[in-house]
């Protein structure tokens, strides 16, 4: 360390005041080195290793949780989709059913109304026939009476009178029919 010491050159501050400084420096530094190597660095490295492990474990756990969440989400989405499909199907069904029911009801109502109309018409026809029958008799009687009074003779012969009335009415009817045709 002191190659020029013996040659009479003044090294000034480059020459240690006491050679023991060199030894003291070395010993103290070796002491520091020893403690750091045996105690400090192993503790720090152990902590780092633990931390790395923990972080890695944490990341793996988080990844697993994420995968689980993704699976659950997919399942829910699937369920939701099938539920939507079902709802649409039910709605469609209900719509068809409602339409069918409405058509059925309309049909029934139409039938009913037709039936009522038919009945009413038949009744009216029957009543009319009855009235016509009655009127025919009454008018015949009245006409005979009237004719008897007019001709001054009693048309006692009912049979004949009835026949002539019949004939008259038939003529009237024929006339009416010819008119309508």
């Amino acid at each position: 360390m002191l190659p020029l010491e013996g040659e009479g050159i003044d090294l000034g501050p480059l020459l240690p005041e006491y050679p023991s400084e060199i030894i003291a420096g070395i010993i103290l530094f070796l002491l520091v080195w020893f403690v750091v190597a045996k105690k400090v660095v192993p503790i720090f490295e152990k902590t780092y290793a633990e931390r790395t492990e923990e972080i890695q474990g944490g990341i793996e756990k988080a990844e697993a949780a994420q995968a689980e969440a993704a699976a659950a989400l997919a399942e829910y989405k699937e369920q939701l989709a099938s539920a939507r499909e079902e709802a649409a199907r039910i709605r469609e069904e209900a719509k068809t059913q409602a339409a069918a029911t409405a058509a059925e009801l309309r049909q029934a109502a139409q039938e009913e109304s037709a039936r009522l109309l038919e009945t009413a018409r038949a009744q009216i026809e029957a009543e009319r026939a009855h009235v016509v029958q009655e009127l025919r008799g009454e008018i015949g009687g009245l006409a005979t009476q009237l004719a008897g009074r007019i001709v001054g003779e009693s048309l006692e012969d009912d049979e004949r009178a009835r026949r002539s009335v019949e004939r008259f009415i038939a003529e009237l009817e024929a006339e009416a029919e010819a008119k309508t045709v």
Binding site: P19, I22, A24, I26, W33
Partner: protein, 273 residues
């Protein structure tokens, strides 16, 4: 204030010089044989103890999730581990990490002694301590290289870089030898020593000189007393800037010494030169 700031140099002589750095024996009554037991040895010992205590303290009760104390320790430790050791040494860094951690913190603490009360003296401005550390580093990087390549092979690698034509070997071998085996340890020691020596000298000039000017009671060299006192005050104030600079220099020199040590080890064990 001056005796408090510079308790060991005193203002007995002016200007401050090389002898301002002389050590003061702790036990002068024992005679010159025990002069090596001096104040600077004491502060070096205290520095080493502080470093050891600090690291043991921050390493105690470490948790995976760090607290404040551990965070501080890890911050410093990571700086050395990742930015110096791992970046320079690569995958082999773990083996040399304790050396670098101890080296950096030991130098740093002793350098900071230059700016803090009680000592006000950077230990490494005594060149013997710097020689000691440089010698340790010298042994470390050569031992690392010799262990990896064997003595002959290592010497060949360190003196004759691969690819040098044999015709130039007569020139390259002495140059590389001087550069790798002589210049390296000496420049390490001298760089550390000279920075702190010079820095401390400047501080002494400003503080001691400022104190002298401030307490002048008679005109000197034709300057009136108020001017001398004002100059002393300015120099005193300016010394704080120098203190700040010296804090930076102290930290920087610790860093440089450590980085170069790592660099030398790395070049000694490198696969390709």
């Amino acid at each position: 204030m001056i005796p408090l700031l510079i308790p060991m140099e005193g203002e007995s002589h002016w200007p401050p010089g090389v002898d301002s750095f002389d050590s003061r024996p702790l036990f002068p009554e024992l005679g010159p044989d025990y002069y090596w037991l001096n104040n600077h040895l004491a502060q070096a010992v205290i520095g080493a103890i502080l470093v050891i205590v600090f690291w043991l303290w921050v390493a105690r009760n470490q948790k995976v999730v760090p607290g404040k104390k551990q965070f501080l320790g890890e911050y410093l430790y990571n700086l050395l581990r990742n930015s110096i050791a791992r970046d320079i040494l690569g995958h082999d860094y773990r083996k040399y990490l304790p050396y670098l951690v101890g080296l950096f913190s030991f130098i740093l603490v002793n350098n900071l002694f230059g700016e803090f009360f009680l000592f006000m003296f950077p230990t490494f401005s005594k060149i013997g301590y710097a020689y000691g550390l440089a010698l340790c580093t010298f042994i470390l990087y050569n031992a690392a290289g010799i262990r990896k390549y064997g003595f002959g092979n290592y010497m060949k690698r360190m003196t004759l870089p691969a690819g040098v034509p044999l015709g130039l070997a007569w020139l390259i071998i002495p140059l590389e030898f001087i550069s790798n085996f002589i210049a390296r340890p000496f420049t390490l020691a001298l760089r550390l020593f000279a920075n702190l020596f010079a820095g401390h000298l400047v501080i002494m000039v400003f503080v001691v000189g400022g104190g002298m000017l401030l307490t002048m009671t008679e005109p000197a060299n034709g300057f009136p007393v108020p001017l001398l006192n004002a100059a002393g005050a300015v120099s005193f104030i300016f010394s704080f800037a120098i203190f700040a600079l010296e804090l930076l220099v102290g930290a920087l020199q610790a860093y440089i010494f450590t980085v170069l040590t790592a660099q030398y080890v790395s070049s000694a064990i490198a696969e390709e030169h």
